[in-house]
């Protein structure tokens, strides 16, 4: 039976690895954040459950809100050319559109923020990276929600 070993088969010792031996083995190939007996630590909250549920429910509501928003702004009644200061002022004169936009702002920011939070949890490998990315994310979400809410409620059509 013809069995031949390719030249690559012979394990060559390079200068960097020549010192490894049974007494001095190379470091093992570790997976990121290996499980230990004490992890994961139990938190006993329902935060992740509510987060998961919020993503589904807000997603359904956002489909209606965003498609409605896009239709009004970009398709119906002349399309995007009509959008201007006067158009926005006219819509925000009605509390219905104020609350539509407010709901869209809050749901979109929290939905997107929570989605990015799970992505950071999934992809960031160092605990420090996670903390910093999430700090930046939460700051940006809080700032955008606060600024947007402020503008919707304090909007003055006679600002000029």
């Amino acid at each position: 039976m013809a069995t031949e070993v390719s030249p690559k088969d012979a394990v060559e010792l390079t200068s960097s690895s020549a010192s490894y031996s049974p007494d001095n083995p190379a470091p093992l190939i570790e997976p990121p954040r290996a499980r230990t007996r004490r992890t994961p630590r139990s938190t006993r909250t329902n935060f992740e459950l509510y987060g998961w549920l919020f993503m589904r429910l807000s997603g359904v509501v956002l489909v209606v809100l965003v498609i409605g928003h896009l239709l009004i702004q970009l398709v119906l009644d002349g399309g995007v050319t009509k959008v201007g200061f006067a158009f926005v002022a006219g819509r925000w004169a009605s509390p219905f559109w104020q609350y539509w936009d407010l709901a869209m702002l809050w749901l979109a920011m929290l939905h997107g923020g929570n989605g990015l939070r799970t992505i950071i949890n999934d992809y960031a490998e160092q605990p420090n990276t996670r903390v910093w990315l999430k700090t930046i994310l939460f700051t940006a979400v809080a700032f955008t929600i606060a600024l947007g809410s402020l503008v919707i409620f304090t909007f003055d059509p006679n600002i000029r």
Partner: protein, 257 residues
């Protein structure tokens, strides 16, 4: 009266004998790692002659027994029951003892590497401790209260059917080590632990379902599942793993609301 059939081959047997010893040349490309030699893992090619109807495990045996005895891998029963030879073959998690050479495009090099997401100890052997720790954490045993019954705990066929799929698990880790969430964060319980929790959560005789749901409700529990279905594709027993995880999620939701 009866015709002697001893020395007369059936046509099927003849056909089997003609093709029976048909060997083909394959390249087995194994990702080898030996911490006593080098800190780097490397791909090593082995050219061997095998019967395409044999399994990848037979090819590995051929290499280990005839070419390089230092090739290290786990296998015990070699018939898909013990679940010790899960490995990544051509980029997919499979059991080497259930994968035929002819099914993994033998005209190209067949790549074999250790399952991902766990510490590689040597060649195809990984440290399974974190995997079994996650398994232990979901308490995979019958939990009951009250006095021991004096006879068998009876269960209807329908109640047994409820968790039948998840009883098939052989703990080979093919699902958990195919999960991208587990690759990046070993704190996630992983599909196998959830499957084995499912097996008891939905068992009508068991009373520890609430505790297990509480464990899996945590931030590294079922909510980290992204339903990529890698686990369902990887399972050599055909368990609908993602479905089981979704059923645990649903149980948590309906328990709460």
């Amino acid at each position: 009266m009866s015709t002697p059939t001893l020395d007369k081959h059936s046509s099927a047997l003849d056909a089997a004998e003609v093709t029976g010893t048909h060997l083909i040349a394959i390249t087995l490309r194994v990702r080898r790692f030996n911490p006593e030699v080098s800190a780097e893992a490397e791909w090593v090619d082995y050219q061997i002659q095998v019967d395409p109807k044999e399994r990848v495990l037979d090819a590995l045996h051929k290499v280990k027994w005839e070419i390089d005895g230092s090739l290290t891998f786990r296998r015990s029963c070699a018939h898909g029951v013990c679940g010790s030879d899960a490995m990544r073959i051509n980029g997919k998690n499979r059991l080497a003892c259930k994968t035929l050479i002819k099914d993994v495009s033998p005209e190209k090099p067949i790549t074999v590497e250790a399952i991902k997401g766990m510490t590689v100890l040597k060649d195809l052997v990984v440290d399974m401790d974190p995997f079994f720790q996650a398994y232990r954490d979901v308490m995979p045993f019958l939990i009951t209260t009250g006095n021991e019954p004096t006879r068998e705990r009876l269960q209807s066929a329908a109640d047994r059917e409820r968790f039948d799929d998840t009883t098939k698990c052989i703990l080979c880790a093919a699902c958990t080590s195919s999960c991208p969430v587990f690759w990046n964060d070993g704190q996630y319980f992983g599909p196998a632990a959830i499957v084995n929790a499912h097996r008891f959560i939905f068992d009508s005789r068991d009373e520890g379902g609430e505790q297990r749901l509480e464990i899996l409700n945590d931030k590294d529990g079922v909510w980290r599942c992204r339903t990529t279905f890698n686990c369902t594709d990887a399972c050599p027993r055909g368990i609908e793993v993602t479905k089981a995880i979704q059923e645990v999620k649903r149980a948590l939701i309906t328990r709460r609301f």
